[in-house]
């Protein structure tokens, strides 16, 4: 299982990175392959390239604002949630994402 995702919050200095951390910890715990891009106030970091996206089984977009490059994921199953959920409800969120791959 490989999961990629993007996190982005309005201010782009705290929630964005907390969400990334929560997701990474949860995905690591389950032994999945993962890569989470952040789109904070510095722009995109840890950017997902074409290979990352090609191999991904499902995409998690934990974003509360408009993001760049969403068309990269055309044709992939996408789970779109507000950024807060990735922090407060990480485990259920990942469960939902896994369900989308079936």
């Amino acid at each position: 299982m490989k999961i990629v995702g993007i996190t982005a919050c309005p201010t782009g200095i705290a929630h964005t990175y907390m969400a990334q951390e929560c997701l990474e910890q949860e995905l690591k715990k389950r032994g999945f392959e993962y890569k989470i891009e952040t789109q904070g106030s510095l722009g995109a970091e840890n950017e997902l390239d074409d290979d990352d996206v090609k191999d991904a089984d499902v995409v998690i977009l934990a974003v509360s604002i408009v993001i760049e490059g969403e068309d990269r994921f055309d044709g992939k199953p996408i789970l779109r949630v507000p950024v807060d959920r990735a922090i407060k409800d990480t485990a259920n969120l990942v469960d939902e994402a896994v369900l989308l791959t079936k």
């Binding site: 309005p10 201010t11 782009g12 200095i13 705290a14 929630h15 907390m18 106030s41 509360s64 604002i65 408009v66 807060d84 922090i87 407060k88």
Partner: protein, 352 residues
């Protein structure tokens, strides 16, 4: 309908997100330019030379914030085609224009509404059947969408919404500018309860949007209160871990140091894990601390010209002593309520 409102909220937050650095740059430079300015009948006049240049730079930033706001609302709705109408319409709503011989300026509210309309209109035009025609397709984004959206919505602004929005904005501004007595206490209490109820989440951002709108109109007190409040929950929790060691685990106490530091830098989010873990103690504590801080800030007429809070903006706030006192006393109240309400954790967790 619920989804639509959720989308709208996302678009507005996107606009705020892009506007934020613009106001920070404008507000800080403007505030610096007013150091040592002369008090005259028409307001503060900066010193000649470099201070005057800084003043102009700062004002340019504050003028740009509204067009950037509406442009990126439209961008969030429609992507690139939203930018042109968003910028132009935002600029016009924030300029004083003569409509039928009366000067009107719809300001922030007008920009918010027109930004959304510009986005949805651009999005709608993108979907026209004629837009799929290969020859027309190429001229859609550079000719048809920009001209059509600006023309239609621009005239719509002049003829339909300019005047009522201008009234609304004026009423709001003069109400906020003349707040005193009971109204002021009620307003401060309201801010204390709600401004940080979700620690930097959507409610906070809505309050922030409202205080930013008032900055644009030159009313700085509501933002002053708000920027005090962003620091109260995190610093309060940090102080709480100091005075009630037996009620926090070792991990919580360690983390609280970082939470306190970023709280001083005006970031509230560090409080979230504590609130999630023990809402029954943390919410009453931060709300009571918030009310205290808001009342002190309101009483001391604390003002803030930039959209950021905590001690980091101290150089540019007005009534600095009150600002510091409001944060410290509010945080202390939060800490004391925490000490009172939190249950002790087991001995192993305290030391482990």
């Amino acid at each position: 309908m619920k989804n639509f409102l959720k989308d709208v909220q996302k678009h507005l937050l996107s606009g705020v997100s892009f506007m934020m650095p613009v106001i920070v740059a404008g507000g800080v430079i403007l505030a610096i330019s007013l150091l040592g300015a002369n008090q005259t009948a028409t307001g503060l006049v900066p010193q000649p030379g470099i201070m005057t240049y800084l003043n102009q730079l700062g004002k340019a930033g504050m003028t740009m914030m509204i067009p950037v706001f509406s442009a990126y609302i439209a961008y969030s709705v429609a992507g690139r085609p939203g930018l042109t109408p968003g910028f132009i319409l935002g600029f016009i709503t924030n300029s004083t224009v003569s409509v039928g011989g009366v000067d009107v300026k719809a300001g922030f509210l007008g920009a918010l509404v027109l930004g959304l309309m510009a986005g949805y209109m651009a999005q709608w035009i993108k979907g026209w059947k004629i837009a799929k025609n290969p020859t027309i397709r190429s001229i859609m984004p550079i000719l048809i969408i920009p001209i059509f959206t600006v023309l239609v919505l621009g005239l719509f602004y002049y003829f339909i919404i300019a005047t009522p929005f201008s009234w609304l904005m004026n009423a709001l501004t003069s109400f906020m500018a003349t707040l005193n007595g009971t109204n002021k206490i009620a307003f401060a209490t309201f801010m204390g309860v709600f401004a940080e109820i979700d620690f930097g989440g959507p409610v906070t951002k809505s309050v922030s949007m409202f205080t930013l709108a008032l900055i644009n109109e030159g009313v700085l007190e509501p933002n002053g209160i708000f920027r005090v409040l962003v620091s109260v929950p995190p610093i309060g929790i940090f102080l709480g871990t100091l005075i009630a060691k037996n009620k926090f685990t070792k991990e919580e106490r360690e983390n609280a140091k970082a939470v306190g530091i970023i709280g001083c830098l005006g970031i509230t989010e560090g409080a979230i894990p504590y609130a999630v873990k023990d809402p029954k103690a943390v919410y009453p504590a931060t709300i009571l601390g918030g009310i205290t801080a808001a009342l002190i800030a309101a009483f001391g007429n604390v003002t803030c010209p930039v959209p950021h809070g905590g001690f980091i903006v101290l150089p540019v706030v007005g009534n600095k002593l009150w600002f510091v006192a409001a944060i410290l006393i509010g945080s202390l109240v939060t800490a004391l309520v925490l000490k009172f309400l939190k249950k002790p954790v087991s001995q192993e967790e305290v030391s482990a």
